[in-house]
Symmetry: C2
Subunit: 338 residues, 2 copies
Amino acid sequence: MSEYINRQWRLAARPVGNFKDTDFTWREEPVPALTDGQILVRNIYLSLDPTNRIWAAQDSYLPAVPLGDVMRGVAIGVVEASRNAAFPVGTFAQGLLGWQLYYVGDGKGLTPIPKIPGQSLSLYHGVLGAIGLTAYFGLLDIGRPKEGETLVVSAAAGAVGSLVGQIGKIKGCRVVGIAGGPEKCRWIVEDLGFDAAIDYKNEPVGAGLARHCPAGIDVYFDNVGGDILDAALARMNNFGRVVACGAISQYVADRPPTGPANFLLVVSKRLRIEGFIVLDYLPRAQEAIPQLLGWVAEGRLKYRLDVVEGLESAPQAVRKLFDGSNRGKLIVKVSDEP
Amino acid sequence: MSEYINRQWRLAARPVGNFKDTDFTWREEPVPALTDGQILVRNIYLSLDPTNRIWAAQDSYLPAVPLGDVMRGVAIGVVEASRNAAFPVGTFAQGLLGWQLYYVGDGKGLTPIPKIPGQSLSLYHGVLGAIGLTAYFGLLDIGRPKEGETLVVSAAAGAVGSLVGQIGKIKGCRVVGIAGGPEKCRWIVEDLGFDAAIDYKNEPVGAGLARHCPAGIDVYFDNVGGDILDAALARMNNFGRVVACGAISQYVADRPPTGPANFLLVVSKRLRIEGFIVLDYLPRAQEAIPQLLGWVAEGRLKYRLDVVEGLESAPQAVRKLFDGSNRGKLIVKVSDEP
């Protein structure tokens, strides 16, 4: 036993549709004393991501979170107690620390991160985190856009999509974003420099793509799947590339997911549809990070955080990802930065 | 006017489901006299291919055949009259000569072919034709199998599939074919050397794949789309590749085509699905042809032709492609080799 009282969200049920409060159970309990090799990390910022829904629902690229376990989540924290020389007290660390105040474990899989002077640690959930690497490697390594090509990105005001579009502009593409509602559309065009935005809540996406992509689509960065993927496929140019990053429209559907009806176009248009998971790119992170930091410093890459206060709010907050109401990268502030 | 009387099948209606006799009209008419630059080619062997259904039904990678025009088809013929120095009388030529006895035109897009001593000209509809190049480039350039990997091919007793599997064996893969009926399954295993066959008419494909692909699937060469594609996706390994060659199950469906329900696996398994059209590889044909001829000579690459006699039979014959009753590469013998 120790002086630390943990606060945790444990997974209580497999979600059906969007997350519900009853999918989680709140638990407060003393943190067990550390054994040799263990560390105790106080979480500061917890990242909420669409993939949380996949982890809670089923086995995928990671096994499903067992019912009754602490909900899996990427967080940034500070080591407050340590019996592990690799993680001295005061070290900042990032990794699968979970939806809890305190992580206790051997630190395996956690990455020590340097504090960047004058910057919040939340930077590591921003461009330096999964969203930055997802946008960078997904677009450049999988999508391989060439100068002058047309790039379309869905969930364009989202954490990943907003970065994808800006990197596309830096690389000389015509960039069209698909987002829901006038505020998001205004933001990506006026503040982020996209060439055009399609508000899928106010016009058929196919009509918008026809208007804004007169030369067709060369790269489609897909965060949503479903009907929007179909509309994009219909406008793809020969030898176009579809970066399969996610399919948020399908995660919470109450029907079994369906594939794109326009799948036959893959052959006739010689399309390449390729999926990726950012975890595979972590060993190459150093290729991306100096570039991303440079673009941020130059003001060419902007992002916004949607910070929710308090671990208690996590189950309500995570639902914003699936109803379109979050604005930027969604994180929960669990405790104060030191 | 000339002494030649043409015999033609013209497209009369857009096919719905499989081709019907009434989709074509038979026409006999004198061939017009040649003008400067024109040639007259007597067709010898007409190739029937699944893509004929696409050409008849809708615009795709080529515009749809206009109603009333001669049905588009690849054929091999001999020049019988010429006012074009590039095609002297007696030249053999291959290309889009159409479903007719005589082609008259400027020869654009036609390829002169040398007669290989002791071989039938039909070789150019076999390994030296589209099916050989489709199998070679689709498997090696798009699928990129590595030694020891598991390759699955559908329509495995078909013209392309049977070559794909044999090339996979030459490259050191474990090869599993999916075909309909015991005769086809026996042929690909006993005569062609596939490691295993799944008879989709007699067992669920998913169960067969589970049994015959204990290490999962690394490359799936898809000729059929639909449910079989879904079953393959479910067994793909991480970083697997799907060669999207065709989707014959969808061409004649009486419902709108549906995409693969397991499409979400593209992200979690980091799959690459890539389409291609053999026409794009014609400029690289010389990379493949010596290799293919060598394998044929060594007895490592076998194929069979299903030769139907007489142009009159073409509308009945083409239906065999879609009901699974053809055995090997389907061609129509239009007239005799000189």
